[in-house]
Symmetry: C2
Subunit: 689 residues, 2 copies
Amino acid sequence: MNYKQRAKELVAQMTVEEKISQMTNGTAEIERLGIPRYNWWNEGLHGVGRAGTATVFPQAIGLAAAFDRELMFRVATAISDEFRAKYNQFVKHGDLGEMYKGITVWSPNINIFRDPRWGRGHETYGEDTYLTSRLAVDFVKGLQGDDPNHNKTDATLKHYAVHSGPEKGRNTFDSVTNKKDLYETYTYSFEYAIRHSRPAAVMAAYNAVNGVECVRSEYMIDQLLRGEFGFEGYYLSDCGAVCDLFEPRKVAADKGEASAMAVNAGCDLCCGNAYYNLIYAYDKGQIKEDKITESCERLMEARLRLGMGQKTVYDDIPCSVLCSKEHLDLSRDAAVKSAVLLKNNGILPLNKDGITVSVCGPNADDVSVLCGNYNGTPSRDVTMLEGIQDYIGEENVYYSEGCKLFKPGEERLSEALINALHSDVVVTCVGLAPQIEGEAGDAYNSDAGGDKTTLALPAVQQNLLEKLYESEVPVIIVNISGSAVLLGDHYDKAAAIIQMFYPGEKGGDALASILFGDCSPSGKLPVTFYAGDDQLPDFHSYSMDGRTYKYLGGKPTFPFGYGLNYGDVNIDNVSYETLPYSINLDVTLSNNSSIGTHDVLQVYARRLSDCGTGSPYFKLCGFKKIYIPANDRVTTNIVGEEIFAYYNKDGKQETLPGKYEIFVGTSQPDDRSFELTGKRCYCIELNRT
Amino acid sequence: MNYKQRAKELVAQMTVEEKISQMTNGTAEIERLGIPRYNWWNEGLHGVGRAGTATVFPQAIGLAAAFDRELMFRVATAISDEFRAKYNQFVKHGDLGEMYKGITVWSPNINIFRDPRWGRGHETYGEDTYLTSRLAVDFVKGLQGDDPNHNKTDATLKHYAVHSGPEKGRNTFDSVTNKKDLYETYTYSFEYAIRHSRPAAVMAAYNAVNGVECVRSEYMIDQLLRGEFGFEGYYLSDCGAVCDLFEPRKVAADKGEASAMAVNAGCDLCCGNAYYNLIYAYDKGQIKEDKITESCERLMEARLRLGMGQKTVYDDIPCSVLCSKEHLDLSRDAAVKSAVLLKNNGILPLNKDGITVSVCGPNADDVSVLCGNYNGTPSRDVTMLEGIQDYIGEENVYYSEGCKLFKPGEERLSEALINALHSDVVVTCVGLAPQIEGEAGDAYNSDAGGDKTTLALPAVQQNLLEKLYESEVPVIIVNISGSAVLLGDHYDKAAAIIQMFYPGEKGGDALASILFGDCSPSGKLPVTFYAGDDQLPDFHSYSMDGRTYKYLGGKPTFPFGYGLNYGDVNIDNVSYETLPYSINLDVTLSNNSSIGTHDVLQVYARRLSDCGTGSPYFKLCGFKKIYIPANDRVTTNIVGEEIFAYYNKDGKQETLPGKYEIFVGTSQPDDRSFELTGKRCYCIELNRT
């Protein structure tokens, strides 16, 4: 179907007022043209969000930690099924027009998690562009479906671009960046996802980039996005960002002029009320009708592609898919695959027979840490405590809150200690929570408008852990957070550490199945776990110098890509073939243990001549989640992509002659990883002439 | 042991400052005399409260709804076991001195639930003195234990007296009452419980009674409580109530004088910091040392009786009793027995085979409505939703919040409706919650400082119900509240109505076992469910005219004592023997159904000559929870107590000649009950000469 042509014909029949009425998130009905009322605003970061009960999958950062493209696609497919199931019913019952009832999904968030203090980092796929871009493709494909005639739902890449905090003051912030960082880090995943998955939409960030706001930047929208990157969909503002041009940014004299600026630059849809004033700007001549027409045509094209008024293959998705057993099992499986085992002195897996477990900590029985943010309502959440109780029986579990999330007070310390002393092991669930890391206005207990001022665990939680170590009962730390925290002080004292990234509604089930060995954890860190706040550059700086595993000089506590499992997986053999920009590898892995496990094969590269200065110390070029049965070996093929392509200071990719190293392993090729895992990466040295 | 004598000897060795240091809830250590630091403040209304994880039993009003003395004693015994288990550990780990670590329990709340708008009514045993007083005895006995040498814990009757709102302004309120109401309604249960269970303590109410504050009223403390009622324990202030004498009440010039007034009147212990100033009053001569000595001796006597420094039979209660299987089962059983079936068109019990159930409503998946107030932390709470999911499987349940508790908004209406249309039945969990009915400062979303301004369900909930009725899918209402709400409008439209009074941590299990017929509900209303706000007198009036089933002229929606079950229980035969003040009855009940059930045999009386004017229309004189097997009959003995004793205007009991009626049945002898239950009470007419 030629939706572009049909959209053109439809819009040609509209008055200018009617066109404008379609360009705000809540649109008007145009009965005459068969255009029903619609609201563009919906959320689906890790499940249908804010539209009532829906399967809550692990938060985005957790899905990233699974390092599993196939899983990501399955999750996104389940999510889009649930969107359509709800939408079909809402249409049937005439409940449209309000927010969160449509099928235009304002996800994924593919910003690079530049700095671990950013509150919204847990909405992203972490700090690496390769991981983010590949997962984004699978997520977008899963959301949009594979029907040639209709999109199942629309995916929206956000926030374009150079956006990763601060939350406080985001409405006036200017992200200053150079061309190298812009292309290598901040727009790479947008371009890649556009080229490989054709997302329907891109959302502008709140911030300006080098002085020009993203909602009105002709450079960012026209030149890069629609020009160089080949984007053909619709571009929308983050909520209120067009009004920001007037207040507080004062680059426009009023909301009308602000709207004209945005539409003139190619911002087709406005979240918020700014475009209500577009007609005044039109009357004043600040914008021509053809620009309005162009934007409205893009939006109509999208609505037609979603099936407006036409039958689609998705109309029969029944509401029984919502929180179906399949989806809940998938959520549970995703939670298992996203859990990262950071330490294990051999205590794990536990033997459930006759065991008494003390469970404590502020995150042990808290539903909010299952859900992260932009979440739906779970049909049946299972907290960490509940998961363990279900697994070994309530009567074998002692529970104490231990301490509050961050509020000082020692009321429950002795209870936690007493419980520990009556138990074989204490599982202490610490970490952060969406109330202290998240979006401005949302993470209401954050010290810094949603961001963190330190990577340290709240003092009360550290105090709880120290008291528990004194008991000499083995302490298993379950750290639940959406970002890196400082765990170095606990590495020697804890018997085991498991990182869970807001694991979704079945998080407790997942934890229990890991603790007791039903499943081997296989997540890897999608972010660096730094050794201290002092390793971090200025939060407001968008220079990548010293940031992420690519440019961090010092040793972190746990590097990007790191994560243990219950198997004993080694690289037995590697053979390869070099191609102009990539390398094709056949890798044999063996598992010399009696526990079968998933692991993540990872390929990193570096250009020796300038790594750490011009080019990254290491960069991820390939990953693959694989299962290696107990006492068995597996040979698999993996491609190291863009392995010889590095960005110069103008943001252009170039391939220089010289020495390259390619690393193949199950963690990052970093000394600290070797030390932690006891394994070396297999290293290939290449000389390119 | 003569604790009185030992306390006298101990206090004789103290300086006046040391004596005073023992009279505030947080006391000082006196090492020289072997007196450890202690904090008197602890709470145990329906489980160990505020001291961490402990079994949460149904809220007090729910325990009352069970109409089951034996159950109340078992619950209180479990609670005191848990108190001692915690205390034993706290002592061992030196964690004393802070609030909620001791074994002096500031429960039960035996105020008469005079007006359904009172926010704290759910802490009480309802509106009837007979029910309240008898249950109080069992609760006190269960808390204090039966060891002749030591109290297991101390029970505290509160709030003495004439106390039932308003919450807002309670620190300046004066309860104006006449002698008849004072004795018949407001102090009856205190006297009865003192005479039959010897509670260790009584707590003064915040309010004044007829102009004199309860913390300093010689009439209330000396003349009535220690004089007429024979109270021998210690008397304490509600928190901050002594300070209130200074500010805001201004009857004392400063906190010192306020403290002197209280101690002079016999208020031995102060919750709050007022008595820190007692030394200044002593220096000024506002109080003599012998009054201080007297109060301190009472407190030391109590501490010795609790075992201070001595071995007790309770020292070995292990922490494994905390949330033990036995206690959790008891909590579940109590929740079942306290649920009141208000309507059943025959839909209940449901057949679980192949059923799909829609569960909705703001109280369906809310933990706070399980817990009520003054609660502990559940080890494993089971919401209504979770209970149903566990029973029939998650995949057979659709869930929607439906609406918020009270906040307007229709976002989830269509979801709830859609779910209903895909289900065989919709279980709608509506009602109130501790955030809108409770104590001043605690029920933060109440419109009136913790009290209710109307008995109506929040408008959003009524709206939800009306929408669901339109679906024509059978609607089962589960109303969860701590007080009466208006259900008249829903009586005809709902297929069934179940009232649950904040049912404790296993509320959802209890509901499922009732819905699907594993258990027959057998609770009875401990409060009148009025037909409208217009049936209520002025909230600030403490006259009993027109209040409760005893003096309400009109017909309520559901009367006190009302509650259905799944059996078909009838009174087959009654034989009796009259005694001077009571009647001894042998009653045969039959159950002509295939479902065995508990029911509550109830005895009411009235004096025909002046009922409704001088004496109550009806008054409860006996009740007994009994089990009647399917298609079987049971003969049981029950005593109608104080059946000929009525209060005159001077507050004295008298027995006048004339006609009396005694009613024996399974509900109140009220036309509305007959209409609702289809059963008549057996009536005995007696002529007393």
